[in-house]
């Protein structure tokens, strides 16, 4: 009797599981479809796209579109490819992420371990900055950048992104450090470590997970930003703006294969960051939420 029911249990279990996996695979394929279309079409000659089926694999494989997108395609009026803009993006993203993360960590440290009157109000205001829509700040920001002589430059973009990101990074680090035992900081004070020494030697070494969260969040947001780049980029436009100019350029025929390749190039760095650090991202978010 028992053996029979157990058998049936296993069999029905196997059937449901097969069904679940089937559904999951279908969903996965569905979501991967756009990526497939982009990759497949970026590797065909233009003729195959205009004359044929978007879904088909390339008849003739070619990396020409990638090379074109990278170095020769028409961006606006210049035939430079995306290369210089990619560099702009890197020069903007790296300092902006680093500065906003460091400042967020210091803010979180002060707001949890060096409490002062009004600290919660200050934190509330910083949180509030996370919810201000980009559009509202465009004009005041332009004025300030102009007055500082940073309009249309990469340092200007870095400043804009640091200011905008600091609310988020502060939130992350504050919640993370709130769960960090204050007794450790007190022990370090008695041991004779000062403000920065405690931060550097005691808190930072255990801040890995939240730093990954902060870096990924800031990197994706800043890399993908279009509005600030288009508004304040001037001669130093980032990749996203250049991609737009590539796709929108009105001269000649639309080179869809080059556009696809360019779009993938623009998305590649964020993809890479997720693949490398994604696991820690989830872990860091969990650590923050459970403890904070």
């Amino acid at each position: 009797m028992a053996a029979v029911t157990q058998d049936t249990a296993i069999r029905t279990g196997r059937i449901t599981r097969t069904f679940i996996y089937l559904v999951l695979v279908l969903f996965a394929l569905f979501y991967l479809l756009p990526l497939y279309v982009m990759v497949a079409n970026s590797l065909k000659p233009l003729g195959e796209i205009t004359g044929g089926n978007m879904m088909a694999l390339p008849g003739t494989w070619t990396i020409e579109p990638w090379l074109a997108a990278w170095s020769t395609a028409q961006i606006g009026v210049e035939p430079t490819g995306l290369k210089p803009y990619f560099l702009n993006s890197i020069l903007m993203v790296v300092p902006a992420v680093a500065i906003s993360t460091v400042l967020g960590a210091l803010n979180g440290y002060v707001l949890t371990k060096w409490r002062f009157p009004g600290d919660n109000i200050l934190f509330g205001l910083m949180l509030f900055s996370c919810f201000i829509p980009f559009q509202i700040v465009l004009i005041p920001m332009a004025t300030i950048l102009g007055k500082m002589g940073l309009a249309g430059s990469i340092p200007g973009l870095v400043l804009v992104h640091v200011v905008y990101g600091i609310g988020f990074t502060t939130l992350y680090y504050r919640n993370y450090y709130a769960a960090f035992p204050t007794e450790l900081v007190r022990a370090a004070m008695i041991d004779g470590a000062g403000f920065f020494r405690i931060f550097w030697r005691i808190l930072l070494p255990v801040s890995g997970p939240i730093t990954v969260v902060s870096v990924i969040w800031q990197f994706t947001n800043i890399w993908n930003d279009f509005l600030f780049g288009a508004s304040f980029g001037g001669q130093s436009q980032p990749m996203t703006v250049a991609l737009n100019n590539l796709v929108q350029s009105s001269t000649g025929v639309k080179e869809y294969n080059v556009h696809f390749a360019g779009a993938i190039l623009a998305a590649l760095p964020t993809l890479l960051v997720y693949v490398v650090a994604g696991r820690y991202f989830v872990r860091g978010l969990m650590a923050g939420s459970v403890k904070g």
Binding site: A187, M189, I190, R201, V206
Partner: protein
């Protein structure tokens, strides 16, 4: 002037005064225990000595120097925290020498101090581990080691044993006592456990609601409690405190207490000064071990009073048997030898050692001083 002087120290948070005019003077080499229930202000006082909390008013001086505004690291103190507060990213050795490193002690000296203390505490084999790889007792040792390497003027302990299991707690208690006897460093030790306070201290400050209720040697605190609070807080089971009336019999003051059946028992006091309380109510305090079976009574006492009363509950604990009876309408616990001949519901003759009895003023709850 002592080695560590706490003079007239007050602490307020907002409008709430959590410590009221605390005055404690500690001599060099003393082991002072601050004991009291949770929330009475022990940790706050300790943190003020350490410099981790500001002093609202009053002065704290260590080794002749007022340290009110002095940074914690410049007070020459070391502290052991309840959670041990070991730096999770550092090895045991790094944890223990971090303070010396911050104070600019050269590496060879640091290594020497580390080796000495590690040997003393028998943690030499743990030096390369991270705190996460240690058991509770080992962490406790490392936390003490970190304090010891600093060779401070004063050690501060905040409930260092309260996270250990019962057996380990007793072992570590002995070890701390031995350490103090060897090193003779001044210690201020916070605990809510009155047994720890009694066993470890050279002097105890019993705290309650932000007041130091009594400051004295363990024996003074135990035998001559300043008030009802101290009397019942220290000792386990707690001191019996019952209503009684003072009456003069044969020229000596007696306490009249009602037994289970409403009849009065007269217990002659050893203190003559209670004559002036003739005819008035008092609170009579008798510790459980001062009420025994007649054979178990203290042979050195000159004032053993027998009273016959009904046994209500018997609780054997192995070494002793605790017997509950009713006096003055309250449950009173007596401590018998394990093999005393007792049975529930029977009348029994208890021997009360009135030399150990204390009397409290029922209005102020202060002990009536001889």
């Amino acid at each position: 002037m002592g080695f560590l002087d706490i003079s007239n120290v007050t602490k307020t948070y907002g409008n709430v005064e959590v410590l009221h005019r605390v005055d404690i003077s500690v001599q060099e080499g003393e082991f002072l225990v601050l004991v009291g229930p949770s929330g009475c202000g022990k940790s706050t006082l300790l943190n003020m000595i350490a410099g981790l909390e500001g002093i609202t008013s009053g002065d704290i001086s260590i080794n002749g120097r007022v340290v009110n505004g002095v940074h914690p690291s410049k007070r020459n103190i070391a502290m052991v925290f309840q959670s041990y507060a070991l730096y999770p990213n550092m090895t045991v050795a790094q944890n223990m020498t971090f303070g010396l490193e911050m104070h600019g002690v050269p590496k060879p000296e640091r290594d020497k101090a580390l080796a000495d203390v590690a040997k003393l505490l028998q943690i030499e084999n743990l030096l390369d581990r991270k705190p996460g790889q240690l058991s509770g007792g080992q962490r406790q040792r490392v936390a003490m080691g970190r304090a010891l390497v600093r060779d401070p003027d004063v050690f501060l302990f905040d409930e260092p044993l309260s996270n250990l299991d019962a057996k380990l707690r007793v072992d570590m208690r002995t070890e701390i006592k031995r350490l103090h006897e060897n090193l003779k460093t001044t210690i201020v030790y916070v605990t809510h456990d009155q047994i720890e306070a009694m066993t470890l201290s050279t002097r105890i400050a019993v705290m309650y609601q932000g007041y130091v209720q009594q400051l004295g040697t363990p024996k003074e605190i135990y035998d001559k409690p300043a008030n009802v609070y101290v009397a019942t807080f220290m000792g386990s089971p707690a001191m019996n405190v019952v209503k009684a009336k003072v009456a003069m019999r044969e020229g000596a003051p007696h306490a009249l207490v009602t037994g289970h059946d409403g009849t009065d028992h007269a217990l002659r006091f050893s203190q003559d000064n209670l004559a002036e309380w003739d005819g008035r109510e008092i609170l009579l305090g008798i510790r459980p071990e001062a009420i025994t079976d007649p054979d178990g009574a203290d042979r050195n006492s000159n004032n053993i009073v027998p009273i016959t009363n009904r046994i209500e509950v018997i609780e054997p604990s192995g070494a002793d048997t605790f017997v509950t009876m009713k006096l003055g309408g309250r449950d009173v616990i007596a401590r018998m030898r394990a093999d005393a001949d007792v049975a529930t519901g029977r009348d029994f003759t208890f021997a009360v050692n009135m030399e150990k009895a204390v009397a409290f003023d029922p209005a102020t709850e202060l002990r009536i001083q001889p």
